[in-house]
């Protein structure tokens, strides 16, 4: 966690890493409460998934609690793969106990007895640290007579496994490919049993809300984007790092705080997010009413070629598409070939417009969020930096 200047217009918060009650006390207190009341508290808090997709957490837990069957699973998605995101790493390094306690709480609420943390392979260096914390927490669950335990599953390095159903497939030792939905994991997830999958950060906030209450949490942020969240700030910035900030800030305020004075654009939400050019900084809210992000905030200054930025993103998607569905597998390749062809003048500039029609098909017809969101970066970069694509 990095510190900020006092003059900032961006409001820093300190919920996740700040002083709070001891983690086990938080969990014990939460488990004294009425289950339905606690889920309602989560719903009232407005907490939405912090991985990027932003599904209301309380609702997800409610569905899983109501799902039939006596075998249910809890999964912590620690496959932090979105380019420019590195906040889950910090949480797992500094507050893994809160993550595990949040999972235990969800297990108690929904009746799940088994949880897993799915850790991206690139974080294998953290494995021993996480196992130690996990074993301590499992021991604590035992002593609390909570019928719940957590295990660790390592990913194998595919970006798409951050998509929850691909993650589940990967956990089942299959190819990491997204499933057809419905059914959603809350009804049929891991081993076709009701499963709650949440991002690392979401578990911590859920646990904290059980203590501070919905009102205190919702006092932060805006009506549609309550609370705060962790941001991974990178790129052309004098102070890269992980910051917990209030939701709903203006992008111009963010740039004033983190920019280097020459910020040309900000890529909000990573490669699958949107590129905002300088002239729109003061029109954009970072939140669900504007542009949401799983945490990635990449700043580019005027020395950067947006063609190269886009080229880099497309190379990434071309490799990281799972390859099963046509729009994503072939679409990503065509977008990359297309911008290269325009740049080399083997295709006319108008071909960019054709490609943007194809991204619409990718958005509408791809099987999962990966293919559906490639057009976010593509269209925003091409539209805002048209000349850079051509010349």
């Amino acid at each position: 966690m990095e510190t900020m200047t006092n003059t900032s217009t961006v409001r820093k918060t300190d919920l996740i890493f700040g002083r709070s009650l001891d983690t086990l006390t938080l969990l014990r207190n939460a488990m004294q409460r009425d289950k339905d009341g606690l889920i309602q508290e989560l719903i009232d808090s407005g907490l939405r998934g912090r991985g990027g997709a932003g599904f209301p957490t309380g609702l997800k837990w409610k569905f899983a609690k109501g799902a039939p069957g006596n075998k249910k699973y809890i999964i912590c998605n620690a496959d932090e793969g979105e380019p420019g995101t590195f906040k889950d790493r910090v949480i797992l390094e500094k507050a893994a106990d809160k993550v595990f306690a949040g999972m235990g709480l969800c297990g108690w609420l929904t009746g799940a007895t088994k949880g897993f943390i799915y850790l991206r392979n690139e974080y294998i260096w953290m494995r021993n640290h996480i196992l130690a914390q996990m074993n301590d927490m499992n021991e604590a669950f035992r002593q609390m007579k909570l019928d719940f335990s957590i295990g660790l599953k390592m990913g194998s390095g595919a970006y798409v496994c951050g998509e929850e159903t691909a993650l589940i497939e990967s956990m089942e030792s299959k190819r990491g490919e997204p499933r057809n939905k419905p059914p959603f994991p809350a009804i049929a997830g891991y081993e076709d049993k009701p499963t709650v999958v949440n991002n690392v950060e979401t578990w911590v906030y859920a646990l904290l809300i059980s203590y501070i209450g919905a009102d205190v949490f919702a006092a932060y942020g805006t009506e549609q984007s309550t609370g705060s969240k962790l941001f991974s700030v990178s790129g052309d910035t004098p102070k890269p790092g992980v910051y917990e900030l209030e939701m709903g800030m203006k992008l111009s305020d963010f740039v004033a705080e983190f920019g280097d004075g020459d910020t040309k654009s900000v890529q909000v939400g990573g490669a699958s997010g949107f590129c905002v050019p300088r002239r729109k900084f003061d029109q954009v809210i970072i939140g669900f009413e504007g542009i949401p992000t799983g945490g990635s905030m990449m700043l580019f200054n005027s020395h950067r070629s947006m063609y190269h930025v886009l080229h880099n993103f497309l190379e990434f998607f071309m490799e990281e598409s799972c390859g099963q569905c046509t729009p994503c597998r072939v679409g990503c390749q065509q977008l990359l070939l297309g911008i290269e062809a325009v740049k080399s003048k083997t295709k006319p500039a108008q071909y960019l417009d054709t490609l943007m029609e194809f991204t619409e098909t990718m958005r509408l017809a791809s099987k999962c969020g990966l293919g559906q969101s490639v057009g976010n970066a593509f269209n925003s970069i091409v539209n805002e930096f048209y000349e850079e694509m051509i010349y």
Binding site: S321, T326, Q333, A365, K367
Partner: protein, 596 residues
């Protein structure tokens, strides 16, 4: 049964809960194009050609994968859908080597059909670079795999794993490198592939095709110095018509014979003849094994259950997956290979022909037969017993090439010497047929009476369930078979290798005790073989099966041991079933193969 009401293109449709949008549309008579969907396979939802608009939902829905729900409003033809569908086809065409006029599947390609319907502007996309350096795997004697034609629908993969439990084909890599591969990317002839060709039957494009021997056969036919004999497998006659203008399930036996004669084959003979011969040999073998176990207390495990050996896909499967059970497989060659061995010995002698000048061709519903004919042990005549194997599809193509008006051909009979057959032989083409034919002969041999079923139709072993079991108690044996008195014969029939695998697992784990197991590698038996006309589905297979049983019912000889040409063969040449000569020509052995 709970039903669901939805509207599709403003039409109210009521269907069973659990159906997909695609199912519902088909019930309502609304056409939605598909590519990765296949009625025999589990849902994939990966080509996305079948996307439709669901009112109130942000993205389009893959109609093959999304279950119906009450009040759903579906639009199958909006501007959004049309554009997405066209785009998806354009994307697929950009990764597909659209060399249509030179393609073996020209005019038999589902991608081409969709392009013809939905693409009406020139291509804008750039052909993917992978199309410039593709390789074609032609290592297998049965199947050719051309990745440049592959659209990654994964029908082949699902076929190979779900229907066949083989998993020779699998998906490897991801993103732009994703492809359909084999274990460690080895050539098809070096992996656990049974050559069954079920993947070929379900490939929508020209990525998987049979290795064709059309030119080789033309060369033989046009060579004045050769004598070309042809044999026709039982299941060909009930499916060939599909390729040549007839409805599914029409029998075209007589026209097929006429066409073969017109093509110039010197003698048109019948695999059905050697099917009858197989029953004589295999039935005797079963009784011999039973006798050894029941009277001589021989090691039962290596002799029983005895499994059939007609299906070369099954043989390769058991060689790979259950090598400990190779002694349980009947040592009889398949009817094709029995025929081949006799064509260049018995037939050559009778007709006073030099066997070196005989070219032996077979018309098979099967791609694995191509592999079988190539097996090094299949040279009992001193020559390659069967020189070329053509699938039903290849024969249809030759008939078209020759400009033969198939529909107006007169019916002709097979030539004699090895052309006569019984109804019992015809039903070899359907799952359960070998079992039924064997029972008709063995029961009568042992008891002196016909099998106790009306019209000789042994209904318990017929049908399309994946595994069927039947028990028959033998009573009133003739004196020399008294050891079988009161014995309850336990029988099993399996078709599709996944079902075969399940039966063998049960045997291996001691959960099932059978005396005799019939296995056919393909769903429905040979009538659903990998060389049969495309498409295939359960309805088509059922109609072909009905045609086969009609053919049987119409035969004046219904039992293999009453086939006069078979009896003459034994009298003049082989002496008796399981004789020394029979062993030399009609029996074979199996080889343990690696299992990865």
């Amino acid at each position: 049964m709970k039903t669901v009401r939805l509207t599709i293109d403003k039409k109210v449709v009521e269907v069973q809960a659990g159906k997909t949008i695609l199912d519902a549309a088909r019930i309502a008579g609304i056409h939605i194009p598909t590519l990765c969907h296949h009625p025999d396979l589990c849902v994939a939802g990966n080509c996305r050609v079948c996307v439709v608009e669901q009112v109130g939902v942000r993205t389009l829905q893959a109609s093959c994968a999304v279950p119906v729900s009450d009040g759903m409003e579906i639009i199958t033809n909006s501007a959004k859908v049309q554009q997405a569908r066209r785009h998806i086809l354009e994307l697929l065409l950009s990764e597909h080597r659209s060399d249509c006029v030179n393609c073996y599947k020209n005019n038999h390609c589902e991608l081409q059909d969709l392009a013809a319907k939905y693409i009406f502007t020139p291509a804008t996309l750039i052909p993917l670079p992978a199309l410039q350096h593709y390789t074609i795997d032609s290592s297998s004697p049965s199947i050719i795999k051309d990745d440049s034609k592959c659209i990654r629908c994964q029908r082949c993969v699902r076929t190979c794993t779900q229907l066949q439990h083989v998993t020779a084909l699998t998906v490897s890599h991801k993103g732009h490198e994703q492809k359909i591969s084999t274990f460690m990317d080895k050539p098809l002839n070096d992996v656990v592939c049974t050559n069954c060709g079920q993947c070929v039957n379900r490939c929508p494009t020209g990525a998987l095709t049979e290795r064709n021997y059309i030119q080789e056969v033309w060369d033989a036919l046009l060579d004045p110095n050769t004598h070309v004999v042809v044999q026709t497998a039982p299941a060909v006659r009930v499916a060939l018509g599909e390729e040549l203008g007839f409805d599914v399930g029409e029998r075209v036996t007589g026209k097929m014979v006429s066409a073969l004669k017109t093509l110039g084959f010197d003698s048109v003979l019948d695999t059905d003849f050697t099917a009858d011969l197989t029953i004589m040999e295999e039935g005797t073998e079963l009784l011999t094994r039973l006798k050894a176990v029941l009277t001589e207390k021989a090691d039962a495990g290596t002799l029983l259950p005895m499994t059939t050996s007609c299906s070369p896909g099954w043989i390769k499967f058991i060689e790979h997956k259950f090598p400990d059970y190779l002694t349980n497989v009947s040592s009889c060659k398949s009817p094709q290979q029995m025929f081949g061995a006799l064509a260049k010995t018995y037939y050559a002698r009778k007709r006073k022909l030099n066997p070196a000048k005989i070219v032996s061709v077979s018309i098979m519903p099967c791609t694995a037969k191509k592999y079988e004919a190539d097996r090094p042990e299949m040279r009992s005549s001193g020559f390659k017993d069967v020189d070329y194997v053509l699938t039903t599809r290849e024969l249809a193509r030759m008939i078209k090439m020759a400009g033969i008006d198939f529909m107006s051909l007169p019916d002709q009979e097979h030539d004699s010497l090895m052309g006569e057959s019984s109804g019992a032989a015809v039903i070899f083409g359907a799952t359960g047929g070998v079992m039924e034919a064997a029972l008709r002969t063995a029961y009568e041999l042992v008891t002196g009476r016909e099998v106790p079923f009306a019209n000789l139709d042994i209904k318990p072993v017929r049908g399309m369930e994946g595994v069927r079991e039947a028990n028959i108690t033998i009573e009133g044996c003739l004196p020399e078979w008294s050891f079988l008195e009161g014995v309850e014969l336990k029988l099993a029939v399996a078709h599709g290798l996944t079902n075969a695998w399940e039966v063998m697992q049960a045997v291996k784990q001691g959960k099932a005790e059978f005396h005799f197991i019939e296995v056919m590698a393909c769903p429905g038996g040979c009538l659903g073989g990998g060389g049969q006309p495309i498409p295939t589905n359960s309805e088509i297979r059922l109609k072909r099966a009905q045609a086969i049983y009609e053919e049987d019912a119409g035969k004046h000889i219904r039992k293999s041991h009453e086939n006069p040409e078979v009896l003459a063969l034994y009298k003049d040449f082989l002496e008796a079933p399981m004789s020394h000569k029979s062993h030399e020509l009609l029996h074979t052995y199996y080889i343990e193969r690696h299992c990865n």
